[in-house]
């Protein structure tokens, strides 16, 4: 079976130790987590894990089954990139003098549609939200001039189709 990108969404109780339990499921099967984001969800008190993996559908389905089996997990899903709207965020810290010495920098800022978050005498910070390849392109463009610091967030996604999770969670809240 062909490997591709899958986004696994896990709705769970906010419980210490659950991250360890979930990451162990990947570790046991030697599947690398490409990106991980944990946040609150649309329901109060319910956490959402967004996990990106590059593997086969068969493995993804089995992993989701194992995740769902964990006591504090309410529901887990997996989606392909086509089925989701997804974004990542990145911050670039660049030396301030480059803004004046290198004309190309200003073009990069414009073309990348990134935002300047802060500027001071030593450095300025650019924030970019977009798909992985857009952030990669911006990184490649800035790299020759020197990047002082770089960081990229995990992927966050919402699905294109209605998630049946809403009903499950409503039922769940009544309990």
């Amino acid at each position: 079976m062909e490997k591709q990108w899958y986004t696994i969404s896990v709705y769970s109780e906010n419980h210490v130790g659950l991250l360890n339990r979930i990451s162990g499921i990947f570790l046991k099967r030697h599947i690398n987590i490409e990106s991980l984001n944990v946040s609150k969800s649309e329901i109060d008190g319910v956490s959402k894990f967004t996990i990106v993996v590059h593997t086969t559908e068969d493995w993804t389905r089995k992993i989701v089954g194992q995740i769902e089996k964990q006591i504090e997990v309410i529901k887990a899903y997996y989606h392909t990139d086509d089925e989701t709207i997804y974004q990542e965020s990145a911050l670039f810290k660049v030396a301030s003098h480059l803004l004046f010495d290198e004309r190309q920098i200003q073009n990069i800022i414009k073309e990348s549609k990134s935002q300047i978050v802060t500027v001071n005498r030593e450095f300025f910070v650019l924030a970019k939200t977009g798909r992985r390849h857009e952030i990669d392109e911006m990184y490649e463009a800035l790299e020759p001039y020197g990047i002082m610091q770089f960081v990229r967030s995990g992927r966050i996604t919402v699905t294109k189709a209605t998630m049946p999770i809403s009903e499950i969670l409503e039922e769940f809240q009544e309990n």
Binding site: G17, G24, G65, I71, V73, I74, F172
Partner: protein
């Protein structure tokens, strides 16, 4: 935690008592119906042991000689009774010594609650004396685990622990309790847990799945049932029997399914898997509908998956949705507790009699009997066989004993030849294959079924892994019958070395001590058999004994267990020699 808080509010009118956390733990155990626990004291669990001392008339604590023994004893108790086994240990090494038992209980779905002491809350993370992150360590080998650091958490977390351990597909739960939570006081009130909002222990069958399954079963010409421990855990033995008898379908078992159905039932065709029976393995690849009930298609059952039952439609009765399509792609999954799903499908299936198909199993059995079984259980060669010992035990116990086995050749022989009329009678380490399981598990099994004979069948290798538990048998006079089948080798590994490693017997030859003298050191009545002529008398003497009894049988040193499906081969490649 939200629901638990809500429940607490509701129960405000209930009477509370002001007690320490340590005493609260005892009250929780008593409220869960626990009257027996296995464990080993130490610094971080001492407040609880102090309470155990005070409550010893209501709660028996058995001091095993190693914490691993406590877990296996709790497992043996759980497997024979169907109740939750409880083991207790201190922090650090006490806790890490539980890990093998937890892993064993996890893979064999055994309900168990382990309670560990932990350093006081303020010392957590400081590498304090006997501090270890047992919650982190035990996560992959527990169904659930939790660290209690505040005394108020004790009743709700222990209630949840017992509920999770026994509900749905059972499993081990570990609760780690810091010493401050044991010393502090709380207003204690106990409520049993009946629900955890994010946890659905028993899934409902998908609409139409029972009908689809029934249709396949009714139109099948060569249907074949393989049942596993799910039948025993779901207490679905009567439902299985009714289903098998109505449909007339030959039924085979995995080693953990053994004893769920009378071994002498005419439709019981034996064991599947690596050392299972010839017919059930070969005919797996000839059946047209394979009905798997409460089993998980372990690799020791299926052999090579690419050549496993490819011709058959597969129906899977299963409580754990994660097991469906995990190893074998199935055509129909019937989710739920097998007790309910089997009774629901019964009216949908037609009465049938697969005489010709069943005759194929009988024919295969005859071949296996003539080439193998005959020589295993009625040998004519000089050396004693493991099979003839099991056969003598069958006769002397009238097939009524609980058989606890360890891991290795003797285990396969015990599972192949032991006869059972009653469920929950075969206790062995299936999934994990834990050598050293047998002796402590037999102690737990005996204490869980004092009215039954419990015979531990153990090899000379595994026996020495937990031999110290003889101390428990001696101290508490637990009347277990211990049979060591001694071939002075790690027999199963030696067999593989002979067959697949050109007889290079790396570290499998054992120079053993005098096992009879060791047993005598513990004041356990004992006997050694080296000749066939003494075997029957020795087994009869053992079974007649009211006290613990140790029997060593010196068996042939280099016997092999057959049939055998070589590792990674197809069930069709099963070898008779």
């Amino acid at each position: 935690m939200e629901t638990l808080k809500a429940q607490k509010k509701d129960s405000k009118d209930q009477k509370t008592i002001r007690i320490t956390g340590a005493e609260a733990i005892i009250h929780c155990l008593l409220a869960e119906g626990v009257d027996l626990i296995y464990g080993y004291p130490g610094g971080a669990i001492m407040p609880v042991y102090d309470e155990l001392y005070k409550f010893q008339d209501r709660l028996t604590h058995i001091l095993t000689r190693h914490e691993q023994g406590a877990t296996h004893a709790a497992q043996g108790y759980a497997r024979v009774t169907g109740r939750v086994g409880v083991a207790m240990a201190t922090s650090g090494p006490g806790a890490t010594n539980l890990v093998t038992g937890l892993a064993d209980a996890q893979i064999d779905s055994t309900p168990m609650v382990c309670i560990t002491g932990q350093v006081t809350r303020s010392l957590l993370g400081s590498d304090a004396f006997q501090e270890t992150d047992i919650v982190g360590i035990s996560t992959p080998v527990t169904k659930w685990n939790y660290q209690i650091t505040r005394v108020e958490e004790i009743p709700e977390i222990l209630a949840k622990a017992f509920y999770i351990a026994r509900s749905g597909r059972p499993g081990p739960v570990l609760v780690d309790i810091t010493k401050n939570a044991q010393f502090d006081e709380l207003d204690f009130v106990y409520e049993k847990c009946t629900k955890v909002r994010s946890y659905k222990p028993v899934p409902k069958p998908e609409a139409g799945s029972l009908e689809k399954a029934a249709e396949l079963i009714n139109s099948a010409k060569k249907p074949f049932i393989v049942f596993g421990q799910g039948v025993i855990l779901g207490e679905a033995e009567a439902e299985l029997k009714a289903f098998v008898e109505k449909t007339g379908i030959p039924a085979a078992w995995t080693i953990l399914g053994l004893s769920a159905m009378d071994t002498d039932h005419p439709l019981n065709v034996g064991m599947v898997g690596m050392h299972g029976n010839y017919g059930p393995n070969l005919l797996t690849n000839e059946c047209d509908v394979l009905i798997a009930i409460g089993m998980r298609f372990d690799d020791r059952v299926t052999g090579n998956l690419d050549t496993y039952a490819k011709q058959a439609k597969i129906i899977h009765f299963e409580i754990d949705p994660a097991e469906v399509n995990k190893n074998v792609k199935v055509d129909v999954a019937v989710l739920g507790n097998s007790k309910e799903t089997l009774s629901d499908i019964l009216p949908l299936v037609k009465e049938n009699d697969h005489k010709d198909w069943k005759a194929e199993f009988d024919k295969m059995y005859q071949i296996e009997f003539d080439t193998l079984i005959k020589n295993d259980i009625h040998p004519t060669k000089e050396g004693l066989t493991m099979g003839e010992v099991i056969e003598q035990i069958n006769i002397a116990s009238e097939q009524k004993a609980v058989i606890v086995s360890d891991v290795g050749q003797h285990q396969m022989i015990a599972c192949r030849y032991a006869k059972f009329k009653q469920s929950k009678s075969n206790i062995t380490s299936g999934g994990l294959g834990t050598m050293g399981f047998g002796l402590p598990a037999a102690i737990g099994a005996k204490m869980g079924a004092m009215d039954r004979e419990v015979v531990a069948i153990i090899g000379d290798g595994g026996y020495q892994m937990t031999i110290q538990e003889l101390g428990v048998i001696f101290q508490h006079n637990v009347p277990v019958k211990i049979v060591v089948l001694n071939n002075d080798h790690l027999g199963m590994v030696r067999q593989w070395q002979e067959l697949f490693f050109d007889r290079r017997y790396a570290s499998t030859v054992m120079t053993n001590p005098d096992f009879v003298k060791i047993a005598e050191g513990y004041h356990i009545k004992s006997r050694r058999v080296t000749e066939r002529g003494d075997l029957q008398d020795a087994v009869e003497e053992m079974m007649a004994s009211k006290d613990p009894y140790f029997l060593e049988v010196k068996v042939e040193k280099e016997d092999n267990v057959f049939p055998m499906i070589p590792s990674g081969a197809s069930v069709s490649d099963i070898r008779l020699k």
